[in-house]
Each structure stands twice: as C-alpha cells, then as structure tokens.
Amino acid sequence: MPYVIAAPCVADYSCVEVCPVNCIAPGPADPGFAKAEQLYINPALCIHCEACVEACPVNAIFETKALPEPWKAYAQINADYFTQAAR
C-alpha cells in the first residue's frame, strides 16, 4: 500500500529530494510551495520504497494501513490533492 503524509508534516521537502519517482508534491519548484503547510504523496505513483519515511525529519509519513487512528483521513487527503490539481 502507498505511503501517506499525515498531520505532522511541515513541508520540509526532505522527502521530495529522496523520492525516486517524483511522486511528492508540491516541491520547491512547484507553484504553491511557498504557502504549502504540508506535502502530499501521489498514491498512483508511489512505489512503496520507504525512502521518504527515513528522510522525514518530523515522522509524518506512514504506510496507509499503519496510519494512526486520528489521521486515517489523510490517505484520502493525499489522493485528493492530485485529483484536484489535475482538474
């Protein structure tokens, strides 16, 4: 199952730098980065390599099924970011 960025994210983009498939957005080059309070993983592209989990300095990334209870909704929030961006 794909990885999900949850509430502790502070948009520190260390994950963007290590992601081998570029599935985390917005990155520093994307519009909206300056104002982004959190980043999102595109579940359609995530290859479950776990590189971002290690890189995240604030422990904000979880495998979907391991999401702590209050942050379950973040799986959908991550997915929505990309479907809305595509519109």
């Binding site: 502070v10 520190d12 990155g27 520093p28 080059a29 422990n59 209050p70």
Partner: protein
Amino acid sequence: MTPTLSPADPTSVADPSVRVTRTSCGICEASCGLVVRVRGDEVLDIRPDPLHPNSKGFACSKGVQFHHLRDDPDRVRQPLRRRADGSFEPVSWEQALDDIGRRLKAIIARHGGESVGLYGGNPIVWNHEAFSLLLGLGAALKTRHLFAAASVDINNYYVVNQLLYGNNFCSLFPDVERTRFMVILGGNPVVSHGSMMTVGHVREALQDIVRRGGRVVVIDPRRSETAQLFEHLPLRPDADAWLVAAMLRLALQRGCPRPEVAATLGGLAFLQTLVEVATPTRAEQETGIPAARIEQLTRDFIAADGAVLYGRWGASLGQFSTLTKYLIEAFNAVTGNLDRAGGALFGHSMIDIEKLMRDTGQIGYDRWRTRVEGIPEVFGTAPLATMAAEIETPGNGQLRALLVSHGNPAMSGPGGRRLERALGQLELLVSMDPYLTETSRLAHYVLPPTLWLEREGFPIFTMAHTAVPYAQWSPASVRPPEGARDDGWIFAEISRRIGVVPSPLALVRGLGRLGITLGARTLTDLALRTGEHGDWFGLRPSGLSRRKLLAVGGPLLLKPRPPTGVLRQRIAHRDHRVHLEHPLFAAEMQRLAQRQSNDPAYPLHIISVRELRSHNSWLHNIPKLMAGERVQRLRVHPQDARPLGLHNGDRVRVESRHGAVEVMAWISDEVMPGVVALPHGWGHRGGWRRAVEAGGAAFNDLTSSAYVDIDRPSGQAQLTGIAVRLCPLSSATPPATDTVTTSCSPSA
C-alpha cells in the same frame, strides 16, 4: 487527539560514536522538544522528540534544519573589529574585550553608567543566563537604556498584566485543550506555531476544538493560513479595540458578569463607562464588521461552556495595543472565562517566573520615564521606539555606547532608517551576533556568540504559558565552534573589565565586590530548588534541581494541565482581585474615539505577514529554508489593484508618511479591500549572502518611532495597520481607469 508517534526511547542508538541529547528548540515560542544526534562536532540530524510532554513529537522545518545555521559559512567565528573603511578584521577575544572595556570605562568616567545601553533581542529569551546578566549589567550600571525586543512584540501584555494582575509576567493563555469557542484576533498560530501560548501540534489542537463540536473564529484583515482552516471574519486593520469594546458593552448589557464572577473583579463601573462609546453602529463603522455579526459573536461566546478570546500580533502592534489587550482581558473576565476550564488559564512553570522577576526587582510599570520622550518603563526596560531619540538628543544621560545581544534593531525596530543612522553615531557599538546583519555591520566590534544547540539551557519564558507543564534543563548538544563564546560569558567578561558585578541584586553585587561570585546559573538553579517543584537541597528528595534534570536527560511531566481555581492566589494585588480601573485606559479610549483614521493621501493600510520558514529577521540565510525561489510579495486585493493597473509580478512602490519601499505585487483576495500585506524581515544588507540575495525590502522602513505614532502606555511601536499608498513602477498594461486618487512622489 494527537497520538504519540513512536513510543520508542528517542535516545537509543546502536552506534557508540553517536551522542544523543534531548533538548528544546530555541527559535520560536513553541519550544518543541528535539532529539539531536551528534558525531564528534558534527550534528547528524535534529528530530522532534516524540516523548516530550508538551510538543508531543511536533517540530517544524526551522528547528530540524538549525544545524545548517550552526555550520553556515557566513557565520561569524571570531571577534571582528571594524576598520575605518567599514570592513572588518579578525582580532583575538582578549584584544576585543580589553579594548571594549577600556572604551566603556572612558565613556562611563566622562558621562556616567547611564550613557551605556543594552539591547536584548528575541533569541536571548531562550538563554536565561545571558538574559539575567543583561538585566544585571543594566542594574549595575544604573542605566535606563535597557531595551528589549518585547517592546516591538509584547509590551502591551506586560503593561496590562501588571495593572490588572499585579505582575508583568502573569500572562493568562487559552485552554485550547478544553475550550468550546476560541476567538483568535490578529494571530496566525498555524504559521507562527503559537505565541504567548505554547501548545504542541497547535494546528491539530485547534482543529480538535471543531472536531469535538466547538468553534474557532479567526478575526483578521487577511484570510491567513489559520483563517483558511476555520471561520474567518475580516476586520479593518487596527480596529481591534473597537470590536472588543463593542463586545464588552454587549456582554455587560446581557447580564455579565455573574455575581460570583463580579466578586473577583474591581472597577466594573469604570469599565461600563469606558465602553459606552462603543455602540454597535460605531463599531460597525470602525471595524467593517456588521453590527449583527458582532452581536451574534458576543452571544455565542457568552453561551459557550468555556470560551476564550486570544489576541496576538495584529492586536498587539497597532496604535492602541495596550487598550486592546486590556479590553481582551476584561472581556474574558466579565464573561466568566478567567481561570476556568476552556477559558484563559494561569500558567504553571517549573520555575515561578513571576516570583523570580519580582524578587530580582524587575516587576513594575511607570516607575520612571524615558529621558527624551517621557515614556513609561515596562519591567525596567525602555521601548525600542525611544532608542533613536536617546542617541540623537544631547544632554545628561545621552545614549553613547550600546551592547546588542542577539538583536537586529536596525531591521526590526520602528523607523528603521532613522535608527540605523542613529546607531552609526554611537561612540561604541558592540554586537553579539552570529551574522554580519543590518545592525552588526555598523558595530565597532562583532562578538560571535554560541547558539542554542551549543549551550546548556531551557525555555524559561515559554514554560510559563505551556499547555502541559513540564520540567527540562538540557545540556549543550554539541560543542560550539572554537571562536564562539556564550553571551553570558561575554557579559561577565565585559563587566569584569569595567569593574561591576552584573546582577540586579544588591546582595550579589556586594558579595561580588568581596570576590564571591554567584553566577546567574546558580541563582536560577536556586529559584528552581526552592520553588514548588524544588528539592530544597535534599529536604525533598523527589524534587528537582539543575543537576537532577541534567541527569534525567529529558523533559519530565509536572502536571497534565495548569490548575484552575487559583485566581485569588495568583493575583498579586493586595485585594487579590482583577483591577479593571485605571485612568490610563479611559484616556486611551478617549484618544481612540478621537482618532482620525482616514487619510485621503494614504488610502490603504499595510499589515505584516509571518511566513512558515522565517522567524522575524534571522533565518533567511539557510538555503534549505529559502528553497522554492522564495521572494517577498505584497498582497494587494484585486479591487485595489485594478484602478492602478497593477498585475501579478509588477514592481510597486509602497509609501507611508514615514518612508517607502519597492516590492513585488501579488494580486490576491486573501486580503480585504483597502488592505495590503507584506512579510516582514526581508530586505537584508550585510554579510549574510543568501539573505541579501533574496532581496525584498524592510517593512520597518514604513514605520515610525515618533511619539505620536506609537502605543503611548507601553511605548510599543506600531508595526501593523499603517496608512500607505501604492505607486506602480512597471506594468505591462496601462491603468484600467483614469480615476487614480492617490498621488505618488517621484520614485527615488
């Protein structure tokens, strides 16, 4: 609910060459618990501490990237002496301190200790030792030129706390965990991570209010990052006092306070008369909020079972910030929300800061006034707004020499250009700063201090308003670079060379003259050991001391939350009641009622913006925090941009009555019409190359330090809600209409 992220011991590491310390962040008031891994002198990484009782595993990109500031190639690593041509040459600590001592002694011999000034910037608040020595050196010199960054931030709190509760540092803060209704006036905690309220995972904690059926209303001229998550009510800049006065008037008409609450308050009749002028019609006219909305908001607030009104930046840095803070406290008080679950709480700290500051003689208001402009002191300090006048104006007590610790007044003080010129006139300016900043580049000596990662300490001030009271005293996580020294050591060495003992206590100064040194750290430890949680030197073995906390190596939970029902005990006034009556507030209300807020030549109002990856003026040199081609942008509402022909990316000149800046426009309806918003802390000069490259302009060039422009009771500068006009400098298309009402002076 904010779960513990990882129950594992955060300090456990397999590699024996790696040393792990648990500390707390020294950048912002959130003071998040952090875990630092070090090999030799290299910081490997900084991560949030999942077991910290208050921050609970939260940290932000500023804290976790702080080692890049430590390793910054632009960091000053040895004392520097300014040459006649403005460049700097390295000198030894001995040479620098000896010459500073000699020059200070000569100035004191000729003009007295009162000609020497001290300025403590915001970061010194996380360095209790240096902060005590700064206050102590001021006391030993008997100087009134003791300035603190609080006077461009929070002095209004300190005045109101003193008058209402009898202690500058008795700051009540919102019970976010239990409140049913929180009204945020001019604050943006989602980005700032909380100020004068230290709440872990603050965004989540605020969202939890809504999740449990409560409400959060954000009142701000800008749809801030916090406002976007909750109910937003736009308010005209610097109209906060009108809004709260009107809410108070309604509350008093609706039967507030209940008799048992009234018994805790003194001066209700005075309050009633004071707010009489704030009729719904007048309030609507001044705030731009419909009278019906104000009424509904007040009704809902009174009806909520535990509600709190919290005012910060916007409510703290207008022209009537003391009056505004007074009205906020009075509103929480009459609605029965002081000292109750879900309302405003008295903090509970490992060291009783109110007592510590009282015992060292700091507590007070208006015991003396500044030499030139006659502005009242606040906890023994003079406001930064008076610094330029004190340097410029000849006479006894003229400010001639200034020691600046971790501060950048040329960038963060009001009337920036005037202050910068004045700093350049000083006979001696010494700056303790890790960078060549707008201020330190003017100094005769720049002395490189240690940073919070590199010294022992704990967040003494933010502990006083922390949601979950805890105790922590952390060791230095890593050795400082060879040339850096702690500010406390620097103050002590300078004091020794001019023959004074830096302490606010006459007893300590007397012992010092006899050769017995009682360091600031020893005295802070003494306050801890003889306090509520202290070990009383072994009489209470379970109690705390510095040594014990260092041995524990991490934070300890003191209580799940601050206690309630302590109002009588915590109010220092003899009658133990909240004092709502003071002629000062009546005078301010009258001044507000007479204010002319519409200046047709300057039809817009500018407010400042806090950004996620900045902290005031000092984090713009870390590449990782500047990623994404960050630039400073002026937010302009489309309705205001159209008649000027202003488009995204256009250069625009912003003019106030006090100065002008040129910035890039960004058209956005996140600001209300008539309001423009600009991030502060940009427009760097000096030796921090990345920060200078980032460009932008200094917000404080638009501000003023003149007596007529500041908040009179607290001397606090007006840093938001300043009248301005816009003059487009470049535009692809001509203005859409020819009815441009503003006239602009020729571009400089």
